[in-house]
């Protein structure tokens, strides 16, 4: 685990994760191996615009969905 500070429990893509308290959505996206930042993010059922990823801080019990758009066809 990173550091020894307080942790929160967040559900990311359906799986419970222990994360450092106060983690931003940007930090979570980096943590989740995300190959790139251009994804569709939703926190607690609400779409988050990429410009807000830095300012959205995760809280205990939050549910986060991260989707990498697919543009093949």
């Amino acid at each position: 685990m990173d550091g020894g500070g307080p942790e929160i429990s967040v559900v990311v893509d359906g799986f419970a994760e222990r994360l450092p308290a106060g983690m931003s959505l940007t930090a979570l996206i980096l943590r989740q191996q995300a190959q790139h930042k251009d994804l569709v993010a939703e926190v607690n059922g609400r779409f988050v615009h990429p410009r807000d990823y830095d300012s959205v801080l995760l809280n205990e019990g939050d549910r986060v969905e991260l989707i990498h758009p697919a543009f093949g066809g």
Binding site: D38, V40, F47, P50, I67, P69, A70, F71, G72, G73
Partner: protein, 257 residues
């Protein structure tokens, strides 16, 4: 003797009335790869009245594991996708009127290629082309059924111009993903799944079941299986240039409204 379409007409929400609306319906499929080709096949079998096919390319051998309109002979003969596709679709259903355009969607032709249709199906294979298609649909006020696929996953969005988020609202970066399907691969069942979901949405629009159309973004992953629907709450038309009528990809256009 039963009618050709009796099995789908027996589906209550569709019915005879829906079938008649479908017979009078007009759809355009932009891009005839796995998404567009599969969708075109399902639309033709279902009895859509008019189908416009748009694609600049020829099928290649490495398309055949997933693309349903083409045969090895089409590849060998070097037939354009629209030509081979139209021939196959006519053999499936001679009642469908099919129009072909062997061109790539571009800023200069997008509006003409879509005009007059009641629904647009996105069968493209790049983000850039999709943002252009998005703008053209918004400008013309035609519903756009978007799907995209890569690896074993993809997503579906129905854009209802002026009534909800567009592709740019969902994917604001407008950047191409760093890796394409050519690099990451794509499997037939995932693509067929997305194409099937996409066609269902287009058919709802054509048969007049607008209230049943997908809201939000449906994300599909087959490996492992997972379906998710994301909502775009608090859609703000004014926050999106395309939604407020500022078309940056279409030529010679002054901001609307």
């Amino acid at each position: 003797m039963g009618s050709r379409y009796q099995m789908q007409e027996r589906f209550g929400p569709w019915g005879r009335a829906g079938q008649e609306r479908l017979r009078q319906g007009r759809a355009v499929v932009v891009g005839l790869g796995v998404l567009g080709g599969t969708a075109a096949m399902l639309l033709a079998r279902a009895g859509v009245g008019f189908l416009r096919l748009v694609d600049p390319d020829h099928p290649s051998l490495d398309n055949l594991h997933r693309q349903v309109l083409y045969s090895e002979q089409d590849v060998t003969a070097g037939r354009p996708k629209v030509e081979a596709g139209a021939a196959y679709l006519r053999s499936l259903n001679s009642e469908v009127s099919i129009e072909t355009h062997q061109v790539a969607l571009g800023p200069g032709n997008a509006l003409d290629l879509l005009r007059g249709c009641g629904v647009v199906l996105d069968g493209l294979d790049s983000a850039a082309a999709r943002y252009l298609l998005n703008e053209a649909c918004l400008k013309l006020g035609i519903p756009l059924v978007h799907a995209g696929v890569i690896k074993a996953q993809g997503q579906l969005v129905v854009v209802r111009p002026g009534q909800g988020p567009c592709l740019r609202c969902w994917f604001p970066s407008r950047r191409e993903p760093p890796a394409s399907s050519a690099e990451l691969g794509i499997i037939g069942p995932a693509a067929a799944c997305l194409a099937s979901l996409q066609t269902a949405e287009a058919l709802k629009i054509l048969v007049g079941a607008q209230d049943q159309v997908l809201e939000g973004l449906l994300s599909v992953d087959l490996w492992p299986p997972r379906f998710r629907t994301l909502e775009h709450r608090h859609w703000d038309r004014q926050a999106c240039p395309a939604c407020r009528g500022q078309y940056e990809l279409l030529p010679g256009d002054s901001p609307g409204l």
